[in-house]
Amino acid sequence: MEDRHQKITGAEILIRCLQEENVKFVFGYPGGAVLNIYDAIFNQDHFKHVLVRHEQAATHAADAYARATGEVGVALVTSGPGATNAVTGIATAYMDSIPMVVISGQVPTPAIGMDAFQEVDMVGITRPCVKHNFLVKDIKDLATTIKKAFYIAASGRPGPVVVDVPKDITAQYFEFSYPKSIEMRSYNPILKGHSGQIKKAVNLILNAKRPMIYAGGGVVLGDAAEQLTKLTRALGYPITNTLMGLGGYPATDKQFLGMLGMHGTYEANMAMQECDVLIAVGARFDDRVIGNPEHFFSKNRTIIHIDVDPSSISKRVKVDVPIVGHVLSVLTEMNELLEADSGKPDQAALASWWKQIEEWRGKNCLNYDRSSAIIKPQFVVEKLWEVTNGDAFITSDVGQHQMWAAQYYKFDKPRRWINSGGLGTMGVGLPYAMGVQLAYPDAQVACITGEASIQMCIQELSTCKQFHLPVKVVTLNNRYMGMVRQWQEFFYGNRYSESYMDALPDFVKLAEAYGHVGMRIENPADVEPALREAFSPKLKERMVFMDFLTDQKENVFPMVPNGKGLSEMILAEEL
């Protein structure tokens, strides 16, 4: 009994570790293998446990919490099905480099490999979709492993880390000692960029005739929006953001050309294609961004690429000046060099470049029929932007509505746009909104979704009720899986195979059944009043589910068809 005073259970050690990491929320769902941990949670008040209705939502909500705050998100799930349900959320976070620690229960050590009840090889299953993972086999390693997990998740290029904890470990006793810092000989992310390369880049940047800044999610994740904005304004150069980078530069600024890529603006894609010096910052030239790589290479340009992950550089596109380092550190150094340097960009060349860009901009590629008698989905997003003064946190699901949200909600601040860019996970929107609303209880949080996506995690309406989360759901309901239908219209001869959402629920009644406020909006004239009511002080504490019946045949434009080049966009006016 003597040393039991110094020793605590593995479950208690785990809780103390989370406390040491200053964790405020744990998103989870109990089960057999984690009962000891849940018992320890019962006796603590250092963090709040948020009970979801499906483990997928636990990982999505933890992921969104991380996206909105920059802190590491934490999820806790049981073994077997609890663990496998969490995998979609882990893969989603992995693709977008989100810092997250997922603790999964495991069957007791002696039962591992015995096909025990609710046993699954979680370390094996998640290996390809985590930054790293651990199986804790000895209680003496537990605290150090948790420390490593948080360190790995948050440093370098961030990502999710899974810690699989067998049940017997959580019941054993051991002294608690949490390491202050951790050194790993095998893991030393490069943070500071090479000074010589940075100088070379600045020189190229100053000598550009048709410069273009292309900034991605790394700017948001690396908290470098301020330095990027400073650099861009000092140079007077045009800038585009990727889907993941939105908010990394103020969208209402005149130097901002809008998002680029498959559904990017005409001006952003044309400038990307025609520039002579491209400055890529925390972006990875993915297939949805540059379209056909060969078409992209058909133009000569010098590429400077800043990224914290060496493997992102020269992966899809060969670059001329690679700079491996944290974007914040590199951009800060660039700004210092620019301030000290007497060199200025060639103003005459820049003026003629801007003249060209304004010509492209004159296409007004995001125009749509504002006088339509049917609600246009773009109109809903524009009105939402107005009603929330452009200052809400917007989460989205995946599909047409996601693209319209990205195109028409002008994000001026980083970490306001929360979506699954890499994996494209339908169903993230609602749990994402939960994670954000918990982080910022007083903020306006809206989930822009579709009637297909929202049904993939609709059970979380119950979690919203339990935790009083006044999320506003904006459903752009076109009775189709819109993006699937759009591709079928363009590339499959209008054969709408299985893309029609039949037998939809009455979302108003559904929301009410969960104890929320439901609204159905069918006329354009009612869009703004409905949004104003939803965001009014009267409904400030309530979750509101708005079901907007929108134009069934509306498509997302511009569009770079699969396999085409960036300058080969289809525009709305051309159809």
Binding site: V123, G124, R127, P128, K131, H132, L135, I152, M184, R185, S186, Y187, D309, P310, S311, S314, K315, K318
Partner: protein, 163 residues
């Protein structure tokens, strides 16, 4: 082009599967892979024989470096190196074949390490092409069984992969 990549990694359960998983997940070629602990029991040394364009090899090296368990990676093809592989071959050894097999073994500087009534087991080391040459020189019908370790590689002179 064929490349031999050497790496040091933490000698931990699952480390091997992280490397093997990386190659299959990213569709990289893998011709052979050998792994064993080093004189420092906390480290394993792995030799991977792979092939691909320069861009692919560059990505392979970067992706290997990115694995949290991997301590150090070296592309042996960046300099001078030695490659060795061990092969055990069981061959038919009856009648006149008994002498012929012995002769072949001597020509390739192998050793007979097991003798049975109807067969010899020959041990042979060398680079991959020497082992290939031995097999090609043999009549296919006399080869009863072969087992190869896959290549191990080491840099020449003061090219040392160590932490």
């Amino acid at each position: 082009m064929k490349h031999i990549i050497s790496l040091l990694m933490e000698n931990e359960a699952g480390a091997l599967s992280r490397v093997a998983g990386l190659f299959s997940a990213r569709a990289y070629n893998i011709e052979s892979l050998t792994v064993a602990p080093t004189e420092d029991p906390t480290l394993s040394r792995m030799t991977i024989v792979t092939s691909g364009s320069e861009e692919v090899i560059e990505q392979i090296i970067k992706q290997l470096n990115k694995l949290v368990d991997v301590v150090k990676v070296l592309d042996l093809n960046d300099g001078r190196y030695i490659e060795r592989e061990l092969m055990l071959v069981k061959v038919k050894a009856t009648g006149a074949l008994r002498d012929e097999m012995k002769r072949m073994c001597d020509i390739f500087r192998g050793r007979i390490i097991d003798v049975a009534d109807g067969s010899y087991t020959i041990e042979l080391t060398g680079d991959g092409s020497k082992l290939d040459a031995f097999l090609e020189a043999m009549d296919k019908t006399v080869i009863l069984e072969t087992v190869r370790t896959g290549a191990s590689g080491i840099g020449r002179g003061d090219r040392i992969l160590k932490i």
